[in-house]
């Protein structure tokens, strides 16, 4: 976007993308629920080259105390990238970008979690990006919902997530790092499939209104695919072997 140049063919004459995918295909997504011992719930997601760990603590006492709310629980999310997760070392302290992403992910998850059941408590979600490859906020959001469910926190729906965008004048699903750098638009979407509600939506890049509608349609298809993988990750942990650790 901003017209960054790259010597890479984003879409060849057969409609195949730089990483071999078709325009309407997501990268390979694998999710594993319950990967951490100490966290109340956890998940590990690989979304293409993204590798992200999610850990959930709580409902627990709120510190600092003034943040606690007598009517409802609060949800706090920290999205954080490891210094080694990107090409050039990232300073460990939270950047403005990470603070903003933490905020939008919090707002994407809040409608799904039944926080009213836990007044005066906090549920903390920690998202650690071990390796970043474009689309980390979607991958992190998808992992966060699985980790919340794994923690046994009552939810209205899982929030699934996938980006759509535009590269080489084509509307594409699940924008990878190259396409984000050299493409024309990137629009991450967070979606609750059962409630039909979009809870995360951002865009940078230029789209006509028609392209915007197409992007949403395609992005929601991606979300639905991720949703199935999220559900099977939970099924895998709780129903496959009969052991409920």
């Amino acid at each position: 976007m901003g017209g960054r140049e790259a010597n890479v063919v984003l879409l060849d004459e057969n409609g195949i993308r730089s990483d071999g995918r078709k325009v309407n295909e997501t990268r390979k997504v694998t999710i594993k629920a319950g990967v951490l011992k100490n966290a109340g719930g956890s998940a590990y997601i690989e979304f293409g080259g993204n590798k992200i760990l999610a850990g959930v603590f709580g409902p627990r006492d709120v510190h600092p105390k003034h943040m606690s709310n007598p009517d409802t629980g609060i949800l706090r999310v920290r999205y954080h990238m490891e210094p080694f997760s990107v090409d050039e070392r990232k300073k460990p302290a939270p950047s403005r970008r990470e603070i903003e992403i933490s905020k939008v992910i919090t707002e994407a998850l809040t409608p799904a979690v039944i926080l009213e059941k836990f007044p005066r408590t906090a549920i903390d979600v920690y998202l650690e990006v071990l390796q970043a490859d474009g689309g980390t906020r979607c991958a992190a959001l998808a992992a966060a919902s699985v980790a919340l469910a794994d923690a046994g926190i009552p939810m209205r729906d899982l929030v699934s997530a996938c980006a759509a965008g535009k590269a080489a004048d084509a509307i594409i699903l699940d924008v990878n790092n190259e396409e984000d750098q050299a493409g024309q638009a990137d629009m991450p979407i967070g979606y609750m499939p059962n409630l039909g509600k979009i809870t995360l939506l951002q865009l940078d890049g230029v789209l006509t209104t028609d392209e915007f509608k197409k992007c949403i349609e395609l992005g929601l298809e991606g979300c639905k695919q991720v949703y199935e993988i999220q559900k099977s990750a939970l099924r895998e942990k709780y129903f496959s072997s009969g052991d409920n650790n």
Partner: protein, 272 residues
């Protein structure tokens, strides 16, 4: 939404009751922005400036242009940066100290709308490729807070950029050197206009004021360019939107953006 005080809850039910009758708390139509007044050239020491008043929300934006090093991956483009800050005198709840997440989001959303529209032709800002470029900094301060800072900051910054001028620098002895009295207008390609809409219950309202802002279920900021295309978008708030609501918002943002673009054009005409 989950953190409403008693007063806010009462306010919300009043606002919802009115919306059911097709009215808003300040008498506007649902798709109507507050009056926008822009004064330009308010800070003569800046390279460009504007004061925007959107209803009772007031922003001052000043432009500073100075030589800088390029971003490592963009040596053939100048730098553009937009910031926003809520001054402690803007609202009783505003505090000094490091910026909190909502203010960081504000600054980044305003910056993104202008940046992604490609408003400024940054390729004309290169003094020496990969080494020295011109940076244009648009800093916005909120002096009075009555809701929807996103749009007000964006209008102030955009108007300030349109009226700004760029001094001339040349590379001498490997250093950018100022050539006096050779300013040129900032190269503008399009006028981005940000339009923020809120959802309360099933109602979508354009440009929420502070009373409305505090009881929104969710909000969305859509920035469009002069061609009527969408260039940036940000959803916020603790709830979501249906696809139909989003399509409606995109249409509202284009219609409302068109009117506001005319106001910005008129306010900045012949000022460069």
């Amino acid at each position: 939404m989950t953190n409403l005080s008693i007063i806010d809850k009462l306010k919300r039910s009043k606002i919802l009751d009115l919306l059911q009758e097709g009215k808003r708390i300040d008498g506007r139509a649902l798709d109507e922005s507050r009056p926008l007044v822009i004064d330009t050239g308010v800070i003569p020491h800046a390279n460009g400036s504007a004061r925007a008043r959107l209803g009772d929300t007031e922003i001052v934006s000043g432009i500073k242009v100075q030589p800088d090093r390029p971003f490592p991956d963009m040596g053939d483009k100048g730098i553009f940066m937009c910031t926003a800050e809520i001054l402690p005198l803007a609202h009783p709840s505003a505090e000094t100290g490091p910026p909190q997440p909502p203010v960081i989001e504000l600054a980044r959303v305003v910056d993104r709308g202008i940046r992604e529209s490609g408003m400024i032709d940054l390729s004309q800002f290169v003094l020496e490729k990969d080494k020295s470029v011109i940076g244009l900094f648009a800093d916005c301060v909120v002096t009075d807070h009555d809701g929807n800072l996103f749009d007000a900051c964006s209008y102030a910054a955009v108007a300030a950029i349109i009226t700004s001028t760029v001094p001339k620098w040349e590379m001498k002895d490997d250093k950018p050197t100022l050539i006096e009295d050779q300013e040129s207008p900032t190269p503008i390609t399009t006028i981005p206009v940000s339009v923020t809409m809120g959802r309360i219950g099933e109602f979508i309202i354009v440009d929420p004021n502070l009373d409305e802002w505090e009881c929104l279920d969710a909000r969305i900021t859509i920035t469009t360019n002069s061609d009527g295309n969408i260039v940036a978008l940000q959803k916020g708030g603790d709830d979501g939107f249906s696809v139909e609501q989003l399509v409606k918002c995109s249409e509202l943002s284009i219609a409302s953006g068109k009117k506001i673009r005319e106001i910005i054009k008129q306010a900045t005409e012949g000022t460069q």
